[in-house]
């Protein structure tokens, strides 16, 4: 308790600095991957992508980021074991932030595959198991999270496959793909609005102090979906069949309709990403803050202060503006074979999967979910050539990042213990 009273301010400032650094890193790198399919499909320009990302990453972080933050903050470790030595949890969380942040720097400079989510989870498990004791880790929860890393890309792939097949059946493989696109696209827009708002209203808003009963929640979600569909219908109203186009080939005009849909889907993706990844940066910060704020009490019931979500969202936005736009440009131009219809199916599938994971409080890797979704479209024969070597890299990132994050957080944990006293 003394340590917290003496060094509380120093510790919390360190936590904020490292948390913001992590958030900055997420904005600088991970957002680009989340926006990659949208920019790559050519439906969203790089400038639009950055504007969409800044707004919706921020909104996602604040409105729906609470659940995953709660998991990182108090779901992976058994907080009650720290009741007598709360400062150890503070060291550990700080060490985890440091470990994940420096691991991201090292791995990036070496060109190794990394995932923010995996490094932070690995780091927390690492200091918990070695620094405190194997019992400190909620292994059930950890197993659940690890399983979700396999399940989430697979689920996204299945959704993307189904979505794309439905597009083929209803729109592409018909006599009038363009007319059918205009007819059915608003329904898909409704779907986008519904999924995002359901998760946000049921799971996210309680963290910002809003509570609705079940019926109101459903009504609000449906209402929001309808609003999105109406906006979309309004936007595609002005798209007309290009008379210069080949009579047998309506696909270019059809793709323009999907282009509009893609803008909305890109927003949903940014929202989903913000809601899941902000926790990696601010989960530990939230844990540290609540301990120090309560003077060393480990109250797992304490609410998450909204300003912390705000800091995370802001960090992501700054990362995006200062550096992320370059990465978005690089990635966007690197993806040439995606058309808006494919981009839509893959991005919506990924966004839905990530947003559902956010609602259940599970930290997943957005990039890997997106890879699963694109492969799903590929299985539906929608893509010319996908390089499956990416799958190897995903496994590699699991094998390398988890132990690396764990190892480094253990080092930092003992270093902090030495510096501030046990």
């Amino acid at each position: 308790m003394e340590i917290i009273a003496n060094y509380g301010n120093v510790l919390i400032i360190m936590a904020i600095v490292f948390g913001v650094f992590m958030a900055w890193g997420i904005g600088a790198n991970d957002v680009a991957n989340a926006m990659g399919t949208s920019v790559g499909s050519g439906a969203v320009t790089i400038k639009q992508a950055i504007i969409i990302a800044v707004i919706f990453e921020f909104a996602g972080a604040i409105l729906a980021g609470g659940e995953v933050t709660a998991t990182i903050r108090k779901g992976i470790l058994d907080a009650s074991l720290f009741a007598n030595e709360p400062h150890l949890l503070v060291y550990g969380m700080l060490a985890s932030l440091l470990a994940a942040g420096s691991w991201l720097l090292i791995a990036s400079s070496l060109g190794w595959p990394v995932s923010t989510t995996h490094s932070i989870v690995g780091a927390i498990v690492g200091f918990g198991a070695v620094g405190v004791g194997v019992d400190a880790v909620e292994w059930n929860q950890v197993v659940k999270i690890v399983m979700s890393w396999i399940a989430s890309p697979v689920l996204a792939g299945i959704i993307a496959f189904t979505l794309f097949r439905s597009l083929q059946y209803l729109i592409i493989d018909t006599n009038h793909p363009f007319n059918n696109a205009k007819k059915y696209v608003p329904y898909y827009m409704f779907l986008v609005g519904l999924v995002v708002s359901l998760v946000t209203i049921f799971k996210g808003l309680k963290h910002v102090g809003l509570n609705f009963d079940t019926v109101t929640s459903y009504m609000l979600s449906i209402g929001f979906g309808i609003i999105i569909a109406i906006i979309g219908t309004f936007l595609i109203r002005n798209i007309h069949l290009d008379p210069d186009e080949n009579k047998d080939f309506y696909y270019a005009s059809m793709e323009r309709v999907f282009g509009v849909l893609m803008i909305i889907t890109a927003a949903a993706m940014a929202f989903a990403h913000g809601s899941n990844d902000v926790a990696n940066a601010i989960g530990p910060l939230a844990a540290i803050y609540s301990i120090i704020d309560s003077g060393g009490m480990i109250g797992s019931k304490s609410a998450l202060p909204v300003w912390i979500l705000f800091v995370g969202g802001l960090g992501i936005a700054v990362g995006l503006i200062t550096y992320g736009h370059k990465v978005i440009a690089t990635i966007g131009t690197g993806i040439t074979q995606l058309t808006p219809s494919r981009g839509f199916a893959a991005t919506l599938a990924a966004a839905a999967t990530v947003v559902i994971a956010s609602g259940t409080g599970i930290p997943v890797s957005t990039t890997q979910v997106l890879v699963g979704a694109v492969l799903g479209v590929g299985l539906a024969r929608g893509m010319a050539a996908l390089d499956t070597r990416v799958i190897n890299r995903i496994f590699l990132s699991w094998i390398i990042t988890l132990p690396a994050g764990a190892f480094m957080s253990i080092l930092f944990f003992f270093a902090l213990k030495g510096a501030f006293g046990a």
Binding site: G25, A28, N29, A32, N33, G36, T37, G40, L104, L105, A107, S108, S109, G111, W112, P113, V114, F164, Q168, I172, D173, T174, D248, F249, Y251, Y323, K326, V327, T330, I331, G334, I335, T336, Q337, L338, T339, T367, L370, V371, V374, L375, G378, L379, A380, R381, G382, M383, A384, A385, L386, D387, T388, R389, V390, R393, S397
Partner: protein, 226 residues
């Protein structure tokens, strides 16, 4: 702080445009042979020489395109068709250019001039072979539409019809080939035997270009059904 493991690395280079480009190159090589045959017929060997060089260059270019496509097609690629089928189509496409080069080379070195009774038939056969290869090229050019529709049954039917046309044209070349052989057989006794031998060979090889075009079509169809 840029990372290499971004989502862009998932997207490989599409083999579709390169395959179409190769077929176009091969077809252009065969088209040159019509010019060559006319020049040879007119005994304009200077012009024939120039066209022959052009045929060789085009064959070489096709070869380079073939190698480039193969190099850019790692076995880890997930494509909407089997990699094996694609490579087969490519190989058969390439054989059209190879055969064309061989006939032109043979006719050039021997300064081969067909007897006037069958000269026009040979030119007609050339035109028919070019038509067959053009039909195959048309089918291959549908590959982007096929991909856009994710190989929908509708689009596959359109391509199926094109491939049927290729088959019909190939039958016509078979008939034309037979006609020339029959005519040549009637003339045989009045012609130098070695020349006759090579007339038969040139006719046979020319027919093989249409055969190859047909094979491109049927292999292409197999590729679509996956």
């Amino acid at each position: 702080m840029a990372r290499t493991d971004n989502i862009a690395s998932l997207f490989g280079k599409s083999p579709i445009t390169p395959l179409q480009k190769h077929m176009k190159q091969v077809h252009s090589c065969l088209k040159d042979f019509a010019v060559f045959a006319n020049a040879a017929n007119a005994q304009d060997w200077e012009k024939a020489e120039i066209v022959c060089i052009s045929i060789n260059n085009k064959e070489e270019k096709a070869d380079k395109l073939k190698k480039k496509l193969r190099m850019n097609l790692p076995s880890t690629f997930m494509m909407p068709f089997s990699r094996r089928d694609l490579l087969d189509v490519l190989l058969i496409q390439d054989s059209i250019a190879n055969i064309t080069k061989d006939i032109a080379g043979l006719m050039m070195t021997r300064h081969m001039v067909f007897p006037e009774q069958i000269a026009d038939d040979f030119i007609n056969l050339t035109k028919l072979c070019i038509k067959t290869s053009a039909a195959a090229l048309m089918a291959v050019n549908e590959l982007d539409e096929l991909l856009e529709t994710a190989f929908s049954s509708r689009q596959r039917k359109i391509v199926g019809k094109m491939i049927k046309t290729v088959n019909e044209l190939e039958h016509e070349t078979d008939d034309a080939q037979n006609d020339i052989r029959n005519k040549l057989f009637a003339l045989e006794s009045d012609l130098p035997p070695v020349d006759v031998m090579f007339y038969y060979r040139a006719i046979e090889w020319l027919g093989e270009t249409a055969d190859a075009a047909q094979k491109v079509g049927s292999r292409f169809e197999v590729m679509l059904t996956k």
